[in-house]
């Protein structure tokens, strides 16, 4: 791999820039080796050529003081930085920058758990803290607080929240559970949001809004600053936890499942993020495609039927959990059971009904209790050299929308020669449809097909009124372009903010389609 330069910076300037960065963080934390260091700062699951996202260097400050000086160097040279925290945002780009030549700002070394407040139920963490780090720490100190983690447990507590990620306990909406934020602006100013702006505040991590505009959201999925610290509310361990699974026989049951689910969610009888998982996702975490089918194209229905029988799963598989004192769980279960029992063929399972070797059940059971694990990555073992990118549109919680979305994606997916592998996650009044597009990372033609399919899905979803909640670096502009109401008024507002808070345009140019003036099309 050949070395590249940051956009607009000449080789001698780049050498001086690196020398200045080394003065700030030390030689050992500026990375430029194209064989041993920089490959890991690209995305393992790209559908586009790696050269498009190859960084020129990476720099890893240890604290806010070093970060402040790194930003000073970047401003001086007008060098674009691409901020990552744990760098595990795979399926959405991982640590890879939006464009080649950026310098990756790696915050993994800022990995302190600054506070665990048992009484009020929160933790304060830096960007480099993973779910597993926090979980292990809570175990070590004997805390009775739970983590709410993303399915890949090596993900970061702070960055998953800033990417609008979700988990699987009642605290699954991570943005909702964030309270108190520290942000460094591009000019090096450190800002505490909300109650943290009050010196000596006692409620920095208890009340979200402070006085005046609530600005925390400006720093999620954005490039307006570098988030250096957040408070996250943690769920106290409940007196009881009883996860359950309900299987459904027919593909067309998705409509009825979603209709039954909506009132249960809106009325909070199902407190955790509710998952309706298509059979192939269930299969892919525990078997491989070649165990059942070696032909080309999507696996036939007859094969799907055999898998379902062998694995004791349905066409759709609903996962939820009861939390609380046993009498309360018993009462709630009666309501939930009766509601779903109205769907012919529904089968109900608790832990004692599923095998200890049932990989799908076991990892879902862990997720519902906030126990980090990596089992879901097994979906990539479905095919040799599997990699994936996730297409994730949002819709209302209705049977009609679920079915429409499912068919919209399934049909295009099958036509493109891929297996549909997806799930619906209902938060409260919204439904995330996660389509895990799995492809062979060593097959250039397949990658190109996956890339085209993804783009087609963006357009088809937008035409039907569905927007994505998050996306891969390769599709940020395209998806930002679908949020174009009133002559792209929202994007134009983002650009105005960007120009004010980061006039040098050094922070993550192009993140979610937001470009600094100097790199904007037409250079407004």
């Amino acid at each position: 791999m050949e070395s590249v330069l940051p956009p607009g910076i000449k080789r001698e300037q780049f050498a001086a820039l690196l020398a200045d960065l080394k003065k700030v963080v030390g030689r050992e934390f500026v990375f430029t080796d194209t064989q041993w260091e920089l490959p890991a700062y690209n995305d393992a699951y790209l559908t586009t050529p790696a050269e498009l996202h190859q960084p020129s260097a990476a720099v890893a400050p240890a604290n806010v003081e070093e970060l402040q000086r790194v930003l000073e160097v970047a401003r001086h040279y007008k060098a674009p930085l691409w901020t990552i925290s744990t760098g595990k945002n795979f399926a959405y780009g991982g640590p890879a920058p939006r464009k080649a030549g950026y310098i990756v700002l790696d915050l993994k070394r800022m990995n302190r758990i600054l506070e665990v407040n048992e009484k009020h139920g929160y933790a304060v963490v830096e960007p480099g803290v993973s779910y597993m780090d926090l979980y292990r720490h809570l175990q070590k100190i004997g805390s009775k607080l739970w983590v709410d983690c993303a399915a890949p447990g090596w993900g970061g507590v702070l960055p998953n929240m800033t990417e609008h990620g979700v988990g699987y306990t009642p605290y699954g909406d991570h943005v909702t559970m964030q309270c108190g934020m520290e942000v460094m602006l591009a000019d090096g100013t450190l800002v505490q949001t909300g109650m943290g702006a009050l010196p000596g505040s006692q409620t920095n991590h208890l009340y979200k809004y402070g006085l005046g505009p609530s600005v925390d959201g400006l720093f999620t999925q954005s490039n307006f600053g570098v988030v250096t610290k957040v408070g996250m509310w943690l769920m106290p361990e409940p007196p009881g936890y009883r996860p359950y699974m309900i299987t459904f026989e027919k593909e067309s049951d998705l409509h009825a499942i979603t209709e039954v689910l909506r009132p249960l969610k809106v009325n909070m009888l199902i407190p955790a993020v509710a998952m309706t998982v298509e059979m192939l996702w269930e299969a892919a975490v525990q078997i491989t495609r070649r165990d059942y089918y070696t032909g080309k194209g999507p696996i036939p229905d007859s094969v799907r039927k055999k898998m379902r029988s062998d694995l004791k799963i349905g066409a759709w598989n609903f996962y939820g959990a009861l939390y609380g004192p046993p009498p309360m769980m018993d009462n709630t279960w009666e309501v939930i059971h009766d509601a779903f029992a109205s769907i012919p063929g529904a089968k109900f399972y608790f832990d004692e009904d599923r095998s200890k070797d049932d990989v799908a059940w076991q990892y879902r059971k862990k997720l519902g209790a906030g126990i980090p694990n990596m089992t879901e990555y097994n979906v990539m073992n479905w095919i040799p050299n599997g990699a994936h990118i996730d297409f994730s549109p949002i819709s209302p919680v209705t049977g009609a929308d679920a079915t429409k979305q499912y068919e919209l994606i399934r049909d295009r997916c099958n036509k493109a020669g891929f297996d549909y592998c997806g799930e619906f996650a209902v938060g409260w009044r919204d439904m995330h449809h996660i389509f895990c597009l799995t492809f062979d990372r060593n097959d250039a033609k397949q990658k190109a097909r996956a890339n085209k399919l993804f783009g087609d899905l963006v357009d088809a979803a937008a035409a039907a009124g569905y927007g994505e909640y998050r996306t891969h670096v390769d599709f940020m502009d395209r998806i930002a372009g679908t949020y174009n109401w009133n002559d792209s008024a929202l994007l134009r507002m983002h650009e105005k903010v960007k120009d004010v808070v980061d006039p040098s345009g050094i922070l993550s140019p192009g993140k979610m389609g937001i470009w600094p003036k100097s790199m904007r099309k037409g250079k407004a």
């Binding site: 990476a58 595990k88 790696d106 990989v359 980090p372 990596m374 990555y377 073992n381 040799p384 599997g386």
Partner: protein, 141 residues
């Protein structure tokens, strides 16, 4: 060029164990899965280094490479090498260069690990630990 050839062989898809062994052995002078040579025996690594290596293994690897098919790294290697041969802690034929290569470059579903999250000194200790395997006792998490 050498690296490109090695990569293409290793990542060729459905690559047989023999080809992995052959390419790894030829290109890096190491022994891949199924071999018998040790680059670093447990006796050659100090107890302190082994303890530190075990800690690094738990911190960085075990989420994917613990024993059991619910761990994607173990499952991937089991599909490649055969059932029961996927857990890294059970391997008796890893070498430091082999470990270093895959940690820094990734393989299959495993993304590479950045120097910013696992530095070269730590990687050296981790590689020595794994090369001194097998480690029948699962390190404490």
């Amino acid at each position: 060029m050498m690296k490109a050839r090695f990569m293409s062989e290793v990542f060729a898809g459905r690559c047989a164990l023999a080809s992995v062994l052959m390419s790894a052995t030829l290109m890096l002078g190491i022994v891949g899965a199924g071999g018998t040579a040790h680059a670093a025996s447990a006796a050659a690594v100090s107890p302190e280094a082994l303890e530190k290596g075990a800690r690094l293994f738990v911190k960085n690897c075990i989420m994917c490479h613990e024993r059991g098919m619910d761990n994607p790294g173990t499952a991937a290697l089991s599909y490649l090498y055969g059932k029961g041969k996927g857990a890294l802690a059970d391997r008796d034929n890893l070498t430091p260069d082999f470990v270093r290569y895959f940690v820094r470059n990734g393989r299959g579903l495993m993304p590479a690990f950045r120097t910013g999250e696992l530095n070269d000194e730590e990687l050296k200790v981790l590689a020595e630990y794994l090369s001194a395997g097998p480690h029948p006792a699962t390190p404490e998490k």
